[in-house]
Symmetry: none
Subunit: 223 residues, 4 copies
DNA sequence: TATGAATGAGAGTTCATTCAT
DNA sequence: TATGAATGAACTCTCATTCAT
């Protein structure tokens, strides 16, 4: 009965790898099984570590999900930034939405995690953690806001963040609708319920399109 | 151990009242403490009943929340319908939004419950329950969709439901943002985080306004 | 919401009918679903009475099963007596077993209930109930014992009761083996487990046959 | 609230010991109080562990009892085998029964547990568990069957298993009779009920004796 | 650092029994 | 007599977290 012990992480790199393994395990399990079926035992097992070891890297279960959501969101923003820069300034709404579509496509995990955040932040989170999280979010968003404002010239100063929060809102709302649990998936197969089968990307882009058209229209004083 | 016995509900009316008491207890607890701190023991205590008694009225905890959400949503639709009828056909977007504002104001509980639904429907719900819920939702929505289409003449046939689902989406998305847990509330008091303090009504109405402007603009072929 | 109230049992006959209805419901449910799935609610429902009403006829759940087992056992003994009298004295072992087979066939419910008795008598039974039950059993068995002794001339005085208790033992033991739960039934369908598929009547009669042969042999001093 | 922490079982041997402690606790409680008063809380308490800890060793309550019964039965068979081998082939019935008596005496717990099996297998047992149990039982019985056939030369090929199942049947049947609950024990102290005070060993051996005499007699064509 | 055995509060649910109606 | 709403202790089982090894 030899004790299987994972090799110790002695340097920073190894430790970072462990950390990522835990986050990856949490993400995969969440995507596979939904929020309720993810627990510390399964995260540990999936990441190839012992339960106690997980606690060396994250103090609570909530910290894992908070970190995960943050990282996914930041990665998503990074990619968005990158694509916006590539696309250049003063875009047509259509071109802007093409950028968005590309980014949504490559980071679809984020849309599922993002609506979890609200829940995670309800429980077992200290003031300090929540504060750090929100401040970081705020700072990270500012750059993207500015890029959005540059991309869409009809936006006033400060409206970039408004577009971003609306985008966030649509992700959460349509994300929930488009991502039913297994039981609900079965239910929605019924032909009469076709109207409830939402394609996230399509609806999100379409809604944001109208929202931006409205903004532009209003800024031009036409409506 | 004195046995406190609640007066018995002997007729349909009294039973309905007890049922409502349970739902009210669940709703209040949810509003006060958030989803995770609502359990059958607290619901029973708050409604002044024994735990076992609650199970005479609802078969599972999920059934309570599903019923609650459904009732709140239907009441909300009822009120919306009523106000739409009162307001008459062919409204300006502004008038339509005034109606919406009035209704949102009177039914603010719903906006918090609605984003819970996704979670509730993930766990311990049978196919039959979920199916009945969705079908009922669909049927109930049709009437309101038609009224919306009458109120906003620029909408095509079938776009009423699209407006409704977008409204639903905005409720969920902005509902989450505007309804922070106690800890998060404290966090958001910080001046730097003002941008994250979302006023649900304002943002929801504003976003929908732009969405509708966009729709109208598009229908008129102007944009 | 008219209250469905069963007509009151005002005379002895009606009360007896109610009593029998309860016992019949308990027996049927036990045969259908096994011991663990029989509860007071289902007994009440099946017998068309309210839960409280059942308690007017039997003080506890255990009293129901004790009464049921007693009645089934007594009916069985009655039938056995009758057939033994019909068959006359001084039977061959084979003829005696033919009588037994006939009776077993007509009263197969008893064999399933009898092995429940031990369990019922473990829980929630007062000394008085248990005493009354056993004394009654004893007295009721004496007559049959005598008939058995008359039927099998090689039995000594007092060996009739020994044959009866052995019979009881075989009923319980082979009864358990021959009456598997639904899951176990499935398991025993496997060809390798054929030896565990016991036919109660066959094994019981066969074993008792050998037992009696042994008794006879011994009484004749041959073995 | 001082937290009493049990010394941890770190190696296989210690874990096996803990497992045995749980089984021993379950067995003792069952012998003392009967099936209905054994629950997970009492098993945990008796074995000096927390409730949750018990579930580290056994997945369900039923698994505990199934394991317990299996182990007791196998131990019993082991001992029986051993004694049969010691006694040699071609025994007189009397010598065979002497072996049986010795074994029964040393393993009297088994006779009480064995009649519980039927009940345990009715509830909360998966097909897989039940199948594994029965197959194991079958395989384990084959060896003993062969030894029984060697010991009793008048048995035909295949009759060993028949003798074993009859023995099992007698254990269950007479086991129930000889093992009354506390209340029933008191009842049976009454002089008129002497006939119901069954001595398991005596009755079992006596009945099997006659059964074997019958078998021998029949095989010799004398009866 | 890493382990995983141990914890124990707490979850949802059941059900025999009581008793106001 | 008959009802069935109400009870609440008891049940099995889960799981985030701790800490001796």
């Amino acid at each position: 009965m030899s004790k299987m012990t994972v090799k110790r992480a002695t340097n920073h790199q190894q430790k970072e790898a462990r950390r990522e393994a835990i986050l990856a395990a949490a993400r995969d399990l969440f995507l596979e099984a939904g929020f309720f079926d993810v627990n510390m035992a399964s995260i540990a097992k999936r990441s190839g570590l012992a339960k106690g070891t997980v606690y060396l890297y994250f103090q609570t279960k909530e910290e894992i999900f908070l970190t995960l959501s943050t990282e996914e969101f930041e990665n998503w923003l990074d990619m968005f930034d990158e694509e916006l820069v590539k696309a250049g300034d003063n875009l047509e709404i259509k071109s802007f939405l093409d950028v968005l579509k590309r980014v949504l496509h490559q980071r679809d995990v984020m849309t599922r995690l993002i609506s979890l955040l609200h829940l995670v932040l309800e429980k077992n989170i200290s003031f300090e953690e929540a504060f750090a999280f929100k401040m970081n979010l705020k700072e990270r968003s500012e750059k993207t806001s500015e890029l959005v404002e540059k991309a869409l010239p009809f936006l006033d100063k400060g409206q970039g963040i408004e577009v971003l929060t609306t985008l966030h809102c649509l992700m959460v709302g349509f994300g929930q609708m488009s991502d039913p649990s297994p039981v609900l998936s079965k239910v929605l197969e019924h032909p009469d319920l076709a109207a409830f089968r939402v394609d996230l990307e399509e609806r999100l882009v379409d809604s944001l399109s109208l929202f931006l058209i409205g903004l532009k229209c209003r800024s031009e004083g036409k409506c």
